[in-house]
Symmetry: C2
Subunit: 398 residues, 2 copies
């Protein structure tokens, strides 16, 4: 198995950036890489051909959603997720654990797993480490994640430690249950915002000699400084010859800062979600297509952009489509933002290969104006408000 | 001007079918032709490239909607509708008159025109024949329609006659107001369901020597037999060397029967609208993608279809996308139905060219099972319910 998922570091840049190559049974990925999110086996509004045109290399799908619709058995009977959605490139599935904790379910958590109600029909479902691995084997992604116990931040030290220890025990059960040699099962480093826990967990997982390491439980409402501090604690503890995946991150500035701290893989719904709200990413910051100033401007939304949308359509037309709530609007904006993310991560990679990552990082931040961070944190907190009840000091233990 | 819009009949088939070629400043169209509807300067969910891939030759846009968003002046300042929406093929605009009467507006009708409230913001607007032509010149389509007075069926004879006569007076004002030599202004034959009125109006319009003739006020809830009877009355009165356009029609069976009665051009929202509801057209009838029987079927929705959707995706995946209300669902179904319509009309044309239209017509009806006609008439009646107040015996005359 290890050979199918061979990871090679091709170049490094201070402080901890790497450019690499990750092989999978569905082709090799250059890293660092941004993975578009295709929750229901579709990156919302775009086709696999359009993903390729946007230079997407690997996409993420959500085990929780796919377990409800169309179900693991159905996907397996249809030849697995690659054939089902007609995407022949690499795919990663999460474990569904995060959604169980984040979607505001009534749930019961015990040492063996978690019982929850479907957000669709209220039916009761059960996720254990073994059940999740069985689902992920049915779905058939190239890279799969183990069930972990998610907690919200801030958290008490003993609560964070207990969740981390249970995550380790569940990981061992996942490894034991996992049989498919054409799938790489990553570990997930937890430990909330405690440096000692993060360090200890990273060391423990390293001992398990896994094909890759994810970092979970971050970007859930905490200040960016705290996330950066945790990455700096974890990075030296992880083996240099395995890919590192920062789950659920990030915004453009998070890609640059994550790579600086040794991250190779990112996924986040942000670029596709804000696209459907009319917000385009540029190297200077965000552009809101709904803004009336664009009504008569016969020029690309981003004059520096070569994406399939900016190459063809004017910002006046995009504004019109959003104004009329036309379906085409969501697709054209999504294509731009996907192209933006893959181009940004590609430029980061190139700067590492050419030994000028430090300069690139400075230039990026000098030009890019992120949305007000306080507002941004509030947004994330609101989005994860359903997780309030998931704080490990409150779930129903049985 | 006439030369730019040269129409040639290439072959005919009994009883009154024709295959022809209509030249426009944006290229030639083979007829009979189906025109996809792009209300807001976008055929909902698809790009111009996809329209071409579906063999669309000419599209329709709605003057009423475009007059509200983004407005005629804005489109003119952006280079006209072709450049605005990046569709370089022929375009036809209606006059907006039908929407003024159909969208349930508060309106005041007088000899000079009609005052109505925008369905978007309630603001008061005024359409006169001259104002509509000015709008259509700003929009810049190749083929444009004059303002007409629409009435609902059934209608009294004197009411229908009055609306028809006013339509004639308005047409003369439209012709006088129209200045652009690169646009063909068609006439619209009215006369409700009265053979004498339809015949008289067709004769009157023929005298005006227009570049094309539309037939309006049909398919508004009346039985199909009545529509067919009106077409049979009008057809012999229209010049053979001008294209004939049946407005707002039709379903697959309407294309076959319309061509049989001498129609060259059709437009209708049906294939794109029902696509977004999960309904696919096939030569056997409609297929509902939401049906649970498709959940595990790894085969094209229509095994006989070569459209960009059926070539790539399984009906199981389409069912899944509709089940999850994923944006991609609407596009993939729209592409199939557009391909179906252009392929059907293309097959009709080919059968005329090969002198076997009669056989094609029989074979089509033997295989195709249309939805229950009574249910279909009720649907249309419900859809045009907003027009109840538009019966010419009720509008506010001032």
């Amino acid at each position: 198995m290890q050979d199918q998922f061979r990871f090679t570091v091709q170049a490094t840049g201070a402080p901890a950036a790497r450019a690499g190559l990750l092989h999978t049974p569905h082709g090799a990925i250059t890293t660092p890489v941004f993975m578009p999110v295709g929750t229901n086996a579709t990156v919302k509004s775009v086709t696999p051909d359009e993903l390729l045109a946007c230079n997407a290399q690997i996409i993420l799908a959500n085990t929780y959603h796919l377990s409800l619709r169309p179900g693991g058995e159905t996907i397996a009977s249809l030849g697995g997720i690659h054939h089902f959605m007609r995407w022949d490139g690499p795919i990663l599935t999460d474990s569904g654990g995060f959604q169980v904790f984040s979607l505001g379910h009534l749930r019961r958590l015990d040492e063996d797993g978690v019982t929850f109600r479907s957000h669709l029909d209220g039916s009761t479902r059960r996720f254990t480490p073994e059940a999740v691995i069985a689902l992920e084997e049915q779905i058939g992604a190239d890279i799969i994640m183990p069930l972990d116990q998610c907690i919200a931040l801030p958290a008490e030290h003993d609560v964070a430690r207990a969740a981390m220890d249970r995550t380790s025990r569940w990981l061992e059960r996942c490894v034991a249950a996992h049989g498919r040699g054409d799938q790489a099962l990553f570990g997930i480093v937890q430990g909330a915002a405690f440096a000692d826990l993060r360090r200890a967990h990273a060391r423990a997982l390293r001992e398990m000699n896994l094909p890759g390491y994810a970092i979970g439980g971050l970007s859930v409402g905490e200040p960016k400084e705290q996330m950066h501090a945790m990455l700096e604690v974890v990075e030296p503890e992880l083996p240099a010859d395995r890919p590192r995946y920062l789950m659920g991150v990030g915004a453009p500035e998070d890609l640059v800062e994550g790579v600086a701290r040794g991250i190779d893989m990112f996924d986040v719904v942000l670029p596709t979600r804000i696209a459907r709200n009319g917000s385009l990413l540029t190297r200077l910051g965000r552009v809101n297509l709904r803004n009336a100033q664009y009504v008569g401007r016969d020029a690309p939304a981003d004059p520096t952009c070569a994406c399939p949308t900016c190459r063809v359509y004017s910002v006046a037309y995009l504004h019109h489509l959003f104004h009329c709530e036309e379906l085409l609007a969501y697709r054209l904006a999504t294509i731009h933002n996907l192209w933006f993310m893959t181009t940004l991560i590609g430029d980061i990679r190139q700067s590492i290969l050419e030994d000028r990552f430090g300069g690139f990082r400075e230039e990026f931040h000098a030009a890019y104006r992120p949305p007000n961070q306080e507002a941004s944190v509030q947004q994330r907190t609101r989005r994860t408000a359903g997780r309030a009840g998931t704080r490990a000091d409150s779930p129903v233990e049985v």
